[in-house]
Subunit: 997 residues, 2 copies
Amino acid sequence: MAALCISFLFQLFFCLVFSLPTGRNSICGYKSCPATNPSMLNVHLVPHTHDDVGWLKTVDQYFYGDRNNIQHAGVQYILDSVIDQLQKDPARRFIYVETAFFYRWWKQQSQSTQRIVTQLVNEGRLEFINGGWCMSDEATTHYSAVIDQMTLGLRFLNDTFGECGRPRVAWHIDPFGHAREHASIFAQMGYDGFFFGRLDYQDKARRMKTKEMEMLWRASESLTPPVADLFTGVLPNGYNPPEGFCWDQSCDDAPIRDDPDLEDYNVDEIVQLFVNTSYKQAAFYKTNHIIMTMGSDFQYENANLWYKNMDKLIKYVNALQAKGSKVNVLYSTPSCYLQELNLANFTWPLKTDDFFPYADAAHDFWTGYFTSRPALKLYERLSNSRLQTCNQLEVLGGPKSTSGPFGEGDSDTMKRAMGVAQHHDAVSGTEKQHVAYDYARRLATGWAHCEILVRNSLAVLSGSEAPRVFCENLNISVCPLTESSHKFSMNVYNPLGRTVSWPVRLPVNGSAYNVTDSTGKTVESQVVPLSKSTKEVRRNRGYAKGELVFQVEAPPLGYSTYIISMHKDEPQASSAKPTATRSIQNKFLKVTFDDTTGLLSSLTNLETNQTIRLTQNFYWYNASVGNTESPQTSGAYIFRPNSSDPLVINKTAEIQIVTLSNTVQEVTQWFSPWVSQVVRLYEGRKELELEWTVGPVPVADGLGKEVITRLETDIKSSDYFYTDSNGREVLERRKDYRPTWDLKQTEPVAGNYYPINSRAYIKASVVQPITSALFASWDDKHQLTVVTDRSQGASSLYNGSLEIMLHRRLLHDDFRGVGEPLSEPGEFSDGLVVRGHLLLTLTPPDTAADVHRPLAQGMVLQPLLSFQDGTPSANTKLQFSGLQADLPPAVHLLTLSQWDKDLVLVRLEHQYEAKESKTYSQPVTVNLQKLFSTLKVLGASEMSLGANQWKEDMNRLQWNPEKTSKPLPLSAKDPSPGEVTLNPMEIRTFLLRVQQL
Amino acid sequence: MAALCISFLFQLFFCLVFSLPTGRNSICGYKSCPATNPSMLNVHLVPHTHDDVGWLKTVDQYFYGDRNNIQHAGVQYILDSVIDQLQKDPARRFIYVETAFFYRWWKQQSQSTQRIVTQLVNEGRLEFINGGWCMSDEATTHYSAVIDQMTLGLRFLNDTFGECGRPRVAWHIDPFGHAREHASIFAQMGYDGFFFGRLDYQDKARRMKTKEMEMLWRASESLTPPVADLFTGVLPNGYNPPEGFCWDQSCDDAPIRDDPDLEDYNVDEIVQLFVNTSYKQAAFYKTNHIIMTMGSDFQYENANLWYKNMDKLIKYVNALQAKGSKVNVLYSTPSCYLQELNLANFTWPLKTDDFFPYADAAHDFWTGYFTSRPALKLYERLSNSRLQTCNQLEVLGGPKSTSGPFGEGDSDTMKRAMGVAQHHDAVSGTEKQHVAYDYARRLATGWAHCEILVRNSLAVLSGSEAPRVFCENLNISVCPLTESSHKFSMNVYNPLGRTVSWPVRLPVNGSAYNVTDSTGKTVESQVVPLSKSTKEVRRNRGYAKGELVFQVEAPPLGYSTYIISMHKDEPQASSAKPTATRSIQNKFLKVTFDDTTGLLSSLTNLETNQTIRLTQNFYWYNASVGNTESPQTSGAYIFRPNSSDPLVINKTAEIQIVTLSNTVQEVTQWFSPWVSQVVRLYEGRKELELEWTVGPVPVADGLGKEVITRLETDIKSSDYFYTDSNGREVLERRKDYRPTWDLKQTEPVAGNYYPINSRAYIKASVVQPITSALFASWDDKHQLTVVTDRSQGASSLYNGSLEIMLHRRLLHDDFRGVGEPLSEPGEFSDGLVVRGHLLLTLTPPDTAADVHRPLAQGMVLQPLLSFQDGTPSANTKLQFSGLQADLPPAVHLLTLSQWDKDLVLVRLEHQYEAKESKTYSQPVTVNLQKLFSTLKVLGASEMSLGANQWKEDMNRLQWNPEKTSKPLPLSAKDPSPGEVTLNPMEIRTFLLRVQQL
């Protein structure tokens, strides 16, 4: 992209000139690929290193090679060494993947080294593959953060190397299962192909047999092909070299001993083994090209070992051609291999589902990490919300945001922290404890930088430079300012593109408060007593006696300000005293409790007048410690219960009505000293909120516990359930079934778990025979949707049931390298307490999305509350919106981020799938020029999703799928330049040249 | 030496021109040393790798980096990496030590790499240190092989790099104790200093306290100082870096994290630790210079890790000088450090004893390896004899030796095999079993190459091209030719410079033979029955019924031929039937046996008419498996008996008179099924031969056994005994005593063991009070000397006793890395059987050397027997001598070896110490021109002992010792050019230009 002039849109022209030369004589990309031999079996050796952006060590420990007693790994040395070795022979190639590391290394290099590296990149000898900040996890990440981290990495490569730095291939060799949404994102980012290493062992066996190791993945049911089509290849050996050919310093395979004067000359033997290995591998693939991944975790720290032996291998194997051998081995890259596959012009099998769950053996299902480290998973999700807010306020506040009255702030630190957190051993929860702390620390540091930015920006926007505090611990009702102040104002910033209202709960010590909104209007509020569980969890970190509850509303991409002052007079008569009750309800929902058990018993949508039986309880699976069938234990990665029947925490719940007020109605359920729940209905909300608190999970009995909540209904879901993919499109799941192979189910629970990122639902899958007088007529009209606050594992093991795993505390490692049992100590070392929310909606299936889409977006992008003590000064602007108007309901402002001086990156997204909403699953058009209230859009250029290529330059390789019978979705076009039409599930990315108004 | 003209001797001039440029602009050596700061504490960082020439892996496995599952080590990569890294910064330095590895690497390099390396050497950035083929063991090597292996390495360096490749410093950082003879050799080779890492922990503690870590070692009592004076330094941390500063890939120390943007910035902390460490170390040394060895075993495989962090260390530590710090750290080498010590012009403590035994803790005496792997130790010693023969015959046979009727032969293979075998984990016996086999295999291969050379050479010299066989297994009486042939000839080649006679024993199946010498004269011979123990040991490898015994004689550096034919007639009446006897005797000696026990009871020298009580028996120390005092076990390195009292194998021996004939008288003693001995007196020999056979050592009882033989006499030795140093000068030992510190003895047996290489003796140390009527008058006149056939451990724990450890079989590893118990399986996997010889002489002390010196040389350089079937053809030359005459008795021809076309290397040695022989401890003169019978000496130039420098160019650094009261020996000068005077213990090395006559 560098040094190119941007395409024109509207009447406005502008030219983006990047500072780095693109390498005038560069022959990078496909042009730089080595020659192959069409009449031979071509073996593409791909020298690579897999550098986890944190796992057993922190990302910086990995970079430096610190704590080598934990794991020998030092990325600085890997890059040093590879660059040295590449220079020794132009035939040598290397790919590098993780930009978080490359960035660290690059900025420490001398200019002369940088020049050498640039030359290597320009000649295709060093090629960036994937190129995101990290290699993201696919099960537990949210698409918003994934797109951001990819953008961060790709931008660094583009800024540094221009077009030659643009990765052609996506490369997820290690993630533990593969999400369809990831494939869709990669396709939209312009990648020509995708390779990975891990898939279900049964799936792999079948694919090897049928030569379906390589395929075309149609990754969206909404986007018009080939927009979300991605050529996808399964690598032959995970991402390791074939047996006997690992020449890293960490390996023990025999080096090639080719000096006849020394003992153990082994050239003939090694060459023969290689030729045999090549033919064996070729039997599973379609073309006369095969790929071998020559590297593994943190390899190439001493690249000489690899290259010296591969040089010899190539020399001696190819020397045999003179004697009639038909094996041709060469240094290559995934993109050069991909190009050969493309040139073969074959048709490829079509894949439309995903690659979850992943099992590498009969009792080894990697479905535990969907839930592992639930607190980190939430913190990562909240951090994404904060980063988006930070990004937006950087744009809206202008240059003073980063350098203003509160000092120097930036969004980059948070971007990088979030980039790192997307790693497949970060938010996945599969890292060591000390590394998990490091990820959290990075997010906190990122937020500290953003806080300054946000303070500056809000000062610009509001005109008030009064000190502003943020309350990090509202989830446990701790906020020193609100606890102590008699009068304060609260700024509610809304990062969404439409006006949203939320319930707010502030820890207070007064018994009644006066709350007014930006217009001075009093807002109904209520002080509710602090729940016992909150008191237990906060311990002595806060002293609030109650929570002030009220609804707030904020304009799109803007804020409103609430002024809260304590009543001097004595408490109002406290709202309805806690009493036993059989139900709570608001305008929209009614929920009943069973008298005997204290559990939920039904849920009614009062608008649609539909009711389902709904019971809910908490259980724990007893984690396997291995048995005679398999030594596999449950651990950070693996979920393996020792029985398919979880143990109930308590058959009955002790219930306590905390509050029955206009503002909120809540019932607390006590299941045990370590499991409680608040069932809550806020005024005006269409969802039932379940606030669960789990922990410290007791393990004194020596049993690892995987805690779930299970919802049981009378919905006739018949083995079907639905889970989202990275928070976007929803996939159908079916118990004990895989769409693409004949599953032999070996783990009836773990083998049916799937990741959910934002939601799961069950619905009546077909018209059911009448079995119940009461509910029968509604059977095909019910959809129970659960929106979650973080990624979790979920399943539906019984008709009408849906279970979600909430927390895990285990006593054994699961032999996948992390080397620790997943037993989070928590702040007081007695086991981590986790609190979270499930939002339940009951709707007819055909309107469900109309509710759960905005509900989930509101969960993902939460309002940012900030507080100022006292009364705002008179000239303070109490309300602000960055948009001229609310966006249409189907449109989500995914990204608004400062790109460069006068340039902002904007992503607009259609947040509905093609068929899920009668109302919203339609093309919708937005006028870019009429979007922002404070920015004049001088020009715009559409980019690839990763923002590293002009959209019009995206010429992806074309692939022929085997025929499909599925109808292809169609898409509408932009009506005029500047008017952007979004089709269902479409994301469009623009670089806007703007001027602050 | 390269490109220099040789100095003139006689009237003959010649000029040696070597092919390699010496680097015209080179500034190597001391001139290339980095600047230091006289007002600061200068810390010399010495980047180095310690590359064992075999240990846990074979030398070639180490070179290639094969079998990394045993130990991660690959020398090819070390050199690759270091050369790369040195190029990155001219300040960086590296030293390389083991030429066996460098040679392997060098010959695989491209010309361009060779040019780069030459440049680095010429600039002193890569410096060779020590430079022998290996870093030899000091306890178990013979000086002849040590000088050879040093010469081999130094010559390669000289041929390759010229003067800049000449090592200035000897560097024995790992050997387990240090021999005085090694220091003497190094001094005579022109080394300016010597550094080592291991010395007794008590010695080290004292030296640190008194700042005597650096000293002047006066390594000979015969040579005139400073000929054998060697500046010697004890390194501060063995050879490792100080704690916290190991940056090799094999280490876990924290890298320097100096990027303030990343976590855990640690520069200040590391700098402070380094400064503290430096001052702490400086407290133990005299000057304001200290040395730090930055490396260890097989380190620098990825040199970038080391250099990158050391670069930073130097930068940040020296940056503190601007703030007043007085620590100056720099890349350096041992020679640059040495130069600074020399410039300091201090006086240094004088050291005159040696550094044996070595203990690294109270119960950890490294005295087991003196005996470990006794069969390998013998094979190495025999191989030296064969190599000298091979070298001599290459010279004497002329060019046809290496390319003649029997094919292509060479001595180089054997030289390199012997070079490798001198390594401190080779002949020392401290390698893994598979590596021990590899050393033996290399020696066998070396000999196979030599065999061809020897066949060619003898064909040239004798005029007979008839097939010639060698019998490898005469020690177990196996030789297919002699067993089956009715008539054959035997060539006896004598590698010594004087006529020698030996008894010969040939396995035969006839009962009587006719033996004639070169002149046709019949030689008295005898067929003696094969001993039961030999039959047991040979198993089914041979079928001889008896051994034909006769004395042979061969001229100096020449051969004689014996013709042996079987008598057709029936056996002579077998010599005296075995009967019980109380004694055997010949002209010189009489030995008696105790009737009751069957043990020896006395030994009489019939010439001097002196008799001692002499009993001898076999015992085993029960190897410690660790106890409450210390977990230390007995192992390959460590000798630790679990009691000071060994267990007797048998209090009595079953004795059997095998032979009582004119030729030989022998008595077999049976102690157990696995211990037997033949006591033997050959006609005309002045030594009593004890042929012991030990093994398989039984370990079914779970007890490791260390088998000794103990000689007990009535000699009043009073805690004193004497052991040789590498087969040359003899050192006085005293029980529970060390000359240089106040010993706290913690292991009464192991702590009194010393290595012997050729001999040990006891003598009456002072005039004793009369205590025994029979022997009293002789007390001060007896010296009992034992000459051994290989290196062994020995001690004298009781007055009049001398014990020698013969064999060890252990069941535990001793925690020094080898990771195996020393339990040699032997050929039949039931435990190795070892056979050997002890030669006993009884003399007055003042004439003892006259006997044991030639006896030991004869043991070291044994005749080579070769056989031809049938009768020699008429024109066969049956006798030959390469010398014009026998050398004077004091002179030993140490080396005669082809150096280049027309150039031969000659070493002449005075084999007596200054005071040990009234007769021979005098200067002796040899005329080089009158030496050889078949070579005309055209010119000669004297060299340093290592033959890598003209003698006249040897300008060693001068050092001032603290005063000594010992009288200094004086030396005589050469009377004229060409006449070479040898003073006691002097070795003189000449390169001769010769012409075959």
